[in-house]
């Protein structure tokens, strides 16, 4: 598979980034097959960021943020969107140059544009993770996030990962000069069946927003949260960090759905976040134990 010289549509953007990061020595992985809030939740980031083994990987991750749904009416917000994530562990000394190379690859000419690294400290309360880095701007528009992981699952990392996240829709809107996500060309406009992002996803945004805000069965979701939490703990006792981490991901997404339905009060909210964080921490610790054994 070879990527075109300069992407002209959403899927070419993905192909170009995959091609570029493959060239940088990254594994090209596929999305994690569960609902999650961001690419960071993928085991290829959360778990692989821990332990002493080097790890270079890149992948697209569909990300769901139920609260961000706008019934397809806001041209810039989605409850389901795509992140492209590259993780390089240990972070190489030239990681910023490599990142800038990816911008050249997708057609951002640094001789014409103003690229800036603006301070942005990243923290995920549910993952017990934080890092320092930047929001990368191109002509005032955020096009990526860059983070050096310092802690994951409450554990200080042995080796620092450099994590680069591209919000693909936002980046594509910038590259292809579109005011609405839904106008983005998904494939090439000269394709046999040219389709826009809206052709593919508008109905999904409308229906999923209705589900997230109006129809999700909250009683059932509360039960699912409790079940996932219980299952996670049970599997941890069996020393199965990967299956137990999946239950943690499930609990996290269930919480996000409940949050969108507005059935979690301000005070309860904090306690739910802490419950998910406790699961994440325990999973990370269990996974780290398996890494130490292997090393």
């Amino acid at each position: 598979m070879s990527a075109p010289a300069k992407p002209t549509c959403f899927q070419e953007l993905i192909l170009t980034l995959q091609d570029y990061w493959a060239g940088q020595g990254c594994l090209i992985l596929q999305p994690f097959d569960m609902e999650m809030g961001a690419g960071t939740f993928h085991t290829a980031t959360t778990l692989r960021a821990l332990g002493p083994k080097p790890w270079y990987a890149a992948y697209v991750q569909p990300s769901r943020r139920p609260k961000d749904g706008r019934y397809g009416e806001n041209p810039m917000r989605l409850q389901h969107y795509y992140q492209f994530q590259a993780i390089l562990k240990p972070s190489p000394p030239d990681i910023l140059e490599r990142y800038l190379g990816s911008l050249e690859a997708i057609g951002i000419d640094t001789g014409l544009h103003d690229i800036r690294f603006n301070e942005d400290d990243w923290e995920s309360p549910t993952l017990g993770a934080w890092g320092l880095g930047w929001e990368v701007w191109c002509d005032g528009s955020e096009i990526s996030q860059f983070t050096y992981f310092q802690q994951v699952g409450g554990i200080e990392v042995d080796m620092v990962s450099g994590e680069i996240t591209y919000g693909l829709e936002r980046l594509a809107m910038y590259l292809f000069d579109k005011k609405s996500i839904y106008e983005l060309p998904f494939n090439r406009t000269d394709s046999e069946v040219p389709l826009t992002y809206g052709d593919v996803f508008l109905q999904n945004e409308q229906e999923q927003s209705a589900y997230n805000f109006e129809h999700a069965d909250t009683e059932m979701l509360f039960r699912h949260f409790a079940d996932a939490e219980k299952e996670c703990v049970r599997l941890l006792e069996k020393k199965l960090p990967l299956p137990s981490y999946e239950q943690c991901i499930k609990a996290s997404h269930t919480f996000n759905l409940l949050d969108a339905r507005g059935v979690i009060s301000v005070t309860e909210r904090q306690s739910y976040i802490l419950r998910v964080r406790d699961l994440a921490k325990a999973c990370c610790e269990a996974w780290l134990a398996t890494q130490a054994k292997a090393a």
Binding site: N74, M76, P90, S91, P92, P93, L96, T110, G111, L112, H113, D114, I115, R116, F117, N118, E119, D121, G131, L132, W134, C138, D139, G140, S141, Y148, Q150, D158, M159, V160, G162, Y174, D177, K179, S265, V266, T267
Partner: protein, 683 residues
């Protein structure tokens, strides 16, 4: 004399940390130099988004050897003492020490030589120690290393007297150390390859050629002048913003100001919203038209010289601003579909403080308090006060304030105007957080005054009640600012507000008194004058208190005041001296002197002058005519002067006479002290 140049190149350093880090680096290196016995003439530090640099001038090329003598124990002292001496001096055995007769016996001496040697040998240690100690607000590790820095460190220039210092900084893990070198890099996009530098002047020049302006002051100048020029070219004026200028200068190594245009469709959104959105999200400078209204041009500062002259950069920034402002316009349009009043229930979901309940509860308290305060504010319509207090916090649950918290109050005002609420109510909602600082505008409309006072008074009283009082260094709820705000509103509007009617805590009243003193000191009022009035105690009406202070200050500035103060001092000194000798005296000299014992005319004159003063004083104080009260004192001066000239107070053979005269002096003192405690005035 030689020059030391240090540059620490890293990935992009947050703007807010740069200036402080440069200063810290300078301080730490200078301290290290001093500790190593190295003197220098000057040290200057610089910061850009990618580097900290330091140049130290006038260092000696080498330090001379310094020999130091240490006296040890007496020859023949117990072995323990000898061993202790050897260890302390770093000697292996007594062979390395010498015996010397001091005249008081023979002692061991150690002659220690502190090796001087080349300065270049001492500098690497100073650099390493300074880098270890540099206190970044947040720091991180990277790669497989263990070293902590603000962002990954890339290279170090360390030159002394034009030569590279031998040394390196270990990064830990499997990472190669960073060796001291004479090469750096220029601008990330406008320069390629490495720059070899030989000294500070060369470094500055090569950086400039490589599109890096080292000095942030120069970057600021370029930005400001460039932005003003661009604005002028479009017949608008730059809206000055020093905080933004500082920040932007920390985001660019090669500033290139560019002029952009705001899409006209957004100009009906309140200007405050446009300005905040441009500043906080995008760091753009706003511009104004000749009438002061917001203009449709903005200035963005790029960090690149683009091939197309910045056209693409300007267009890109205009585009992102358009999307930011459509967000703002979206909130503006959406928020206006809901009245402030119908938002009130939502305040129940916002916790104000864990111990103080929700915003809804706070609103309830403020409304009650505002009603009570309104009775003391002439012209405040009770119904409007209640309405404004009730709605003051409603904008906290609007979309716009959720997005831009700094627009609280401002948006409430706009929405209230939109709802056609009474103008006084809208203004009070907008003004109720004011004044935010000593230079902020102070509310002056009656309804605004009542609500603004209630907002602050509730914060003070509430936080006080749960023990959240400010300490010397910590004031997380900005209670000092609240107290100062109350003082300003009350004083500037001359509101006769008896503060003690609103709280009981004595230490809260003292807190007000302290703030008032600080504020008056800043205004140039003599601290002893303030103390003299405060010492009277029991005053909770700030307007009356200040009137007294002002009258006293101006009285003391007059000739009569100065002389009377001298007379007061003499009277008080004599009484005090006698009271010291005779502990029971104070009780015996209370009250008016016995007329039968007034033997000299001078005594009688003082008594009648005092009587005249008291006749004026009472009504004057009651009418709060403090200047009048002080003026009445002027009549005391001549009789008292004559009294001291002619009358002997301590008549040894007539104890009754002595006591009566002391009574008279005491009366002078108490009469004057009823206006202010004159004993606190420093002559």
């Amino acid at each position: 004399m030689a020059e030391f140049l240090l540059e620490l190149l890293s990935e992009e350093i947050p703007a807010r940390m740069q200036a402080r880090a440069a200063e810290d680096l300078k301080r730490l290196v200078c301290d290290g130099l001093k500790a190593a016995g190295l003197s220098f003439t000057d040290a200057r530090a610089f910061a850009t988004p990618r580097r900290l640099a330091l140049v130290v001038d006038g260092l000696p090329v080498a330090r001379v050897d310094v020999s130091e003598e240490k006296r040890g124990p007496r020859v023949g002292a117990p072995d323990q003492a000898i061993q202790g001496f050897l260890k302390g001096a770093g000697l292996a055995s007594l062979d390395q020490a010498e015996k010397r007769d001091t005249g008081k016996g023979e002692f061991w001496f150690a002659v220690l030589t502190k090796k001087g040697g080349p300065t270049a040998d001492a500098l690497p240690g100073v650099i390493e120690a300074a880098m270890k100690a540099l206190p970044w607000p947040k720091s991180m590790k990277w790669g497989s290393g263990t070293m902590m820095w603000v962002r990954p460190l890339q290279s170090i220039v360390a030159l002394f007297d034009g030569k590279v210092l031998g040394g390196e900084i270990a990064l830990g893990g499997q990472m190669a150390p960073i060796k001291f070198a004479d090469t750096t890099r220029g601008h990330r996009f406008l320069s390629k390859g490495e720059l070899k530098v030989s000294g500070f002047a060369d470094y500055m020049a090569k950086l400039r050629a490589a599109h890096v302006i080292l000095d942030s002051a120069e970057r600021k100048k370029i930005i400001l002048e460039g932005a003003e020029k661009l604005a002028a070219s479009a017949q608008v004026a730059l809206k000055a913003d020093d905080g933004l200028l500082d920040e932007v200068a920390g985001l660019v190594e090669w500033p290139v100001p560019l002029l952009g245009t705001i899409d006209g469709q957004f100009m009906d959104v309140p200007p405050e919203v446009l300005i905040v959105s441009m500043k906080t999200h995008q760091r753009y400078f706003a511009t104004t038209k000749s009438d002061g209204a917001l203009a449709t041009r903005f200035v963005v500062v790029a960090n690149n010289v683009a091939r197309d002259g910045g056209k693409a950069i300007t267009e890109g920034n205009e585009r992102v601003l358009r999307s930011r402002l459509s967000d703002a316009k979206f909130f503006w349009d959406l928020d206006r579909k809901t009245t402030l009043e119908s938002r009130l229930p939502a305040l129940k979901n916002i916790v104000f403080h864990a111990k103080l309940g929700t915003q809804a509860e706070r609103v309830e308290r403020i409304t009650k308090l505002a009603g009570k305060i309104a009775k003391f504010v002439p012209g405040a319509d009770a119904k409007q006060v209640e309405q404004a207090a009730c709605l003051a916090k409603a904008d906290l649950v609007t979309g716009m304030v959720g997005e831009f918290p700094e627009l609280q109050g401002i948006m409430g005002r706009y929405y209230a105007i939109g709802e056609k609420l009474p103008a006084a109510v809208a203004e009070a909602i907008g003004d109720h957080y004011a004044p935010a600082g000593p230079n902020d505008r102070c509310p002056d409309a009656p309804v605004s005054i009542a609500v603004a006072l209630a907002d602050k008074l509730d914060a003070l009283v509430s936080f006080w009640s749960v023990g959240e009082k400010p300490t010397g260094s910590r004031d997380p709820f900005a209670l000092r600012r609240a107290a100062l705000g109350i003082i300003r509103i009350v004083v500037e509007n001359k509101i006769r507000l008896p503060l003690r009617a609103f709280f009981e805590a004595d230490d809260l009243m003292e807190f007000f008194a302290e703030r008032l003193k600080v504020q008056m000191r800043e205004k140039g009022v003599r601290h002893d004058v303030v103390d003299a009035v405060f010492a009277l105690g029991g005053e909770d009406d700030l307007v009356r208190l200040l009137a007294r202070v002002e009258a006293l200050q101006s009285f003391l500035g007059s000739e009569a005041g100065k002389n009377l103060l001298t007379a007061y001092g003499r009277a008080a000194n004599i009484v005090r001296a006698e009271e010291k000798k005779d502990k029971g005296l104070a009780a015996k000299i209370v009250g008016a002197p016995d007329a039968a014992l007034l033997e000299q005319v001078e005594e009688k004159a003082v008594v009648s002058a005092l009587a005249a003063v008291e006749r004026t004083l009472g009504p004057a104080l009651k009418a709060e005519d403090f200047a009048g009260a002080m003026a009445a004192f002027a009549g005391l001066r001549a009789p008292i002067d004559a009294y001291f000239e002619k009358v002997t107070v301590n008549v040894t053979d007539r104890p009754d006479l002595r006591l009566n005269r002391l009574k008279l002096l005491n009366q002078i003192r108490t009469t004057m002290d009823s206006v202010a405690d004159f004993s606190r005035i420093e002559g």
